[in-house]
């Protein structure tokens, strides 16, 4: 087993909505209003080994994008530590560490929002490597041409602006920009979610091609389990800020352990030919502002026990390389 390239060590992130003037004033008179606190990421612990693709799945508000930003170094964690090759990334003050962080790049969901509409493609892709001294100003044209060719774009288009490209092409520009600083690790946040099926297949193939050619490691964030199943070696499932199951892709899709993972997998529409009745999991996703106590999933869980309402289940190893956070695993008679 190779050393982890990224280690996420007990990371939490809370967002606080500060009180406005009116609320602070009301508090002077004893109104007792509190700041709204959202725990977007709650004590998350995992690592990614070199060359691996780890899929991160979950529904809206589960904290997967926040976690992705923390891993990419775009957002500091409130507690815990993210280590890149064993070095904490919060030590960004010295230059070697900063250069190290260039090795982790992020590809965003909406390429239209992530690309500056007033910059030409050659500047979007070529700006960072020049600024960081990876490529000399003289060599940048050749560097950009090579990158565009690598992601399947005609280098002849490099003087165009983002709006002159289709959605799939813009996704490729976003990938070329991330590759421009020669990263080792890519965080892909819903990077194919906005694309049509036929274009999505092209971009997924590109991701797999780049992984082979450049030896890249990915954290691939998606709500689309079909995409995750296809790309990932291991999968991390999140629900309301917590990791509830972590397993190899084959194990998870063959036999999910956590009831939420089971529900999620059972509800994925599949191209199975038989018409079927949908058997949805009941209830809504609770608000992250007021998550249920104990196990966050207990109000929707078909196997809920009294213990689940009060005690938060720990993420425990249930098989080699496999962890799940469910009290059912402590019950006798269930493996």
């Amino acid at each position: 087993m190779s050393a982890p390239i990224i280690a996420v060590d007990n990371v939490s992130r809370t967002f606080v909505q500060p009180l406005d003037v009116a609320a602070r004033l009301a508090n002077l008179f004893g109104a007792g209003m509190r700041e709204a606190v959202v725990t977007a990421v709650d004590h998350v612990d995992f690592s990614v080994r070199r060359g691996e693709v780890v899929g991160l799945v979950g529904e809206s508000g589960c904290g997967k994008s926040t976690l992705g930003r923390i891993v990419a170094g775009l957002l500091p964690p409130s507690a815990g530590e993210v280590r890149f090759h064993g070095r904490p990334i919060r030590e960004l003050a010295d230059k070697p560490a900063r250069d190290g962080m260039l090795k982790v790049q992020m590809i965003f969901q909406d390429p239209a929002a992530a690309l500056n509409p007033r910059m030409q493609v050659k500047d979007i892709v070529g700006e960072a490597p020049v600024v960081h001294g990876i490529v000399s100003r003289a060599g940048i044209a050749a560097h950009v041409d090579a990158l565009l060719a690598r992601v399947g774009l005609d280098p002849g288009y490099k003087t165009r602006y983002p709006h002159q490209f289709s959605g799939g092409q813009r996704a490729r520009i976003g990938i070329a920009r991330a590759l421009a600083v020669e990263p080792e690790f890519l965080v892909c946040d819903e990077s194919v979610a906005a694309l049509d099926v036929s274009i999505q297949a092209q971009v997924l193939n590109l991701f797999m091609q780049l992984r082979r050619d450049l030896g890249l490691t990915y954290l691939f964030i998606s709500h689309d389990l079909g995409v995750i199943e296809h790309l990932s070696d291991r999968v991390v499932v999140m629900y309301l800020g917590r990791v509830i199951e972590m397993a190899s892709t084959a194990d998870l899709f063959r036999q999910p352990n956590h009831p939420y993972a089971q529900a999620l997998l059972a509800n994925v529409p599949r191209l199975a030919t038989a018409k079927r009745r949908f058997e949805p999991v009941k209830g809504e996703i609770p608000s992250p502002l007021a998550p249920p106590p104990g196990c966050h999933f207990h109000p929707r869980c078909p196997f809920v026990m009294p213990r689940c309402r009060v005690e938060t289940p720990a993420l425990k190893e249930i098989a080699p390389g496999r962890r799940s956070a469910c009290h059912l695993n402590d019950e006798p008679g269930r493996s």
């Binding site: 036929s198 797999m208 529409p269 018409k275 809504e284 996703i285």
Partner: protein, 326 residues
């Protein structure tokens, strides 16, 4: 059984400065009472404009230039707005992708639902309120009496879509057009909405047109599927047969590009190139530039040809060998 809706050679074109956008260009299909038709296509294939044309909701610079839409034998194309208004909401209802397009953000749910009832029926306020309440309960909204007094922003996305569905089904319409109603929702919530619509339509005998880009949703929900490309239906037939043995190379390409059809890590089959701009469609078959089977014949637009009792495709070189071998 006589079809609820018959669409024949429908063309909805948009006349803009740079030319004519043929968003819907010669579409024909029909749908039987209680049937579920999945209308599948990628962005810009014209599936949403087709749904809007059935309701007479194509706004300038677009208009229906040709063709016919008949609801239980009655022609809808070319009828005055007052007549269409009488159909909309009562006999043909619609649910959109974003429920905030359906719901007025500054009015309470009860105001909107009661208005929707009294617009088509002469009933008293109390009767209308009771019906609105029952409709909310039927779509699985807890404590409907209280929720009637709420505003749309007080509901979650999935709940708003339930309210939109409740409003659409208030008059037990003969046809419901659902345009990507679950695209913005999470997987577990999408599943709830699918189950709900499936049950309600089966109960009331409402025919359903489910417009989506998601083949997998259609596979579980629809009886028949119609695949659109560049404003035309390129293939239609029973959903099982079409997904098991697609006739049109585009349908085959779409199905093959779905990740779950592949062994993990294998390269996905991909359709080369990208969909043509509807303003600049190629002559002949619009799919020809991306098609592995295209040849000289494809410079002439293919006609609809039938295969067996229920299937048809618009292609000069369909994958018929598969169909006859199977």
């Amino acid at each position: 059984m006589a079809p609820v809706l018959t669409v024949e050679n429908l063309k909805a074109h948009f006349f803009i400065r740079s030319g004519v956008v043929k968003a819907v260009d010669g579409v024909s299909f029909d749908i039987a009472p209680g049937e579920v038709l999945g209308l599948v296509g990628e962005s810009g294939s014209g599936k949403t404009v087709l749904g809007a044309s059935i309701l007479g909701l194509v706004d300038p610079p677009g208009r229906i230039v040709e063709g016919s839409v008949r609801l239980v034998g009655e022609e809808l194309v070319g009828r005055p707005e007052e007549v269409l208004r009488h159909y909309r909401g009562r006999r043909v209802a619609t649910v959109f992708q974003d429920p905030m397009m359906t719901l007025n953000p500054v009015l309470r749910i009860d105001t909107q639902m009661i208005e929707a009832i009294t617009a088509h029926e002469k009933v008293g306020g109390d009767v209308a309120r009771a019906r609105a309440r029952d409709a909310l309960a039927a779509v699985g909204i807890a404590s409907p009496d209280e929720r009637l007094r709420a505003y749309p922003h007080q509901f979650s996305g999935g709940m708003r879509q339930r309210v939109a569905i409740a409003m659409a089904l208030l008059h037990r319409p003969q046809l419901l057009i659902a345009d990507e109603p679950t695209t913005a929702l999470d997987v577990t919530i999408q599943s709830q909405i699918l189950a709900l619509v499936q049950a309600l339509c089966a109960e009331s005998g409402t025919a359903l047109i489910w417009i989506t880009h998601d083949l997998a949703v259609v596979a579980g929900l629809a009886d028949r599927v119609a695949v659109m490309y560049a404003g035309r239906i390129v293939e239609s037939g029973p959903v099982d047969a079409v997904f098991a043995r697609p006739l049109h190379p585009y349908t085959r390409g779409l199905i093959d590009s779905i990740p779950s059809r592949h062994r993990r890590g294998d390269a996905l089959a991909q359709i080369p190139g990208m969909p043509p701009s509807p303003a600049r469609l190629p002559d002949g078959c619009a799919f020809a530039p991306r098609c592995p089977r295209a040849d000289a014949a494809c410079t002439v637009a293919p006609l609809v040809s039938g295969y067996g009792a229920a299937r048809s495709t618009r292609c000069w070189h369909p994958h018929v060998e598969v169909e006859t071998a199977a």
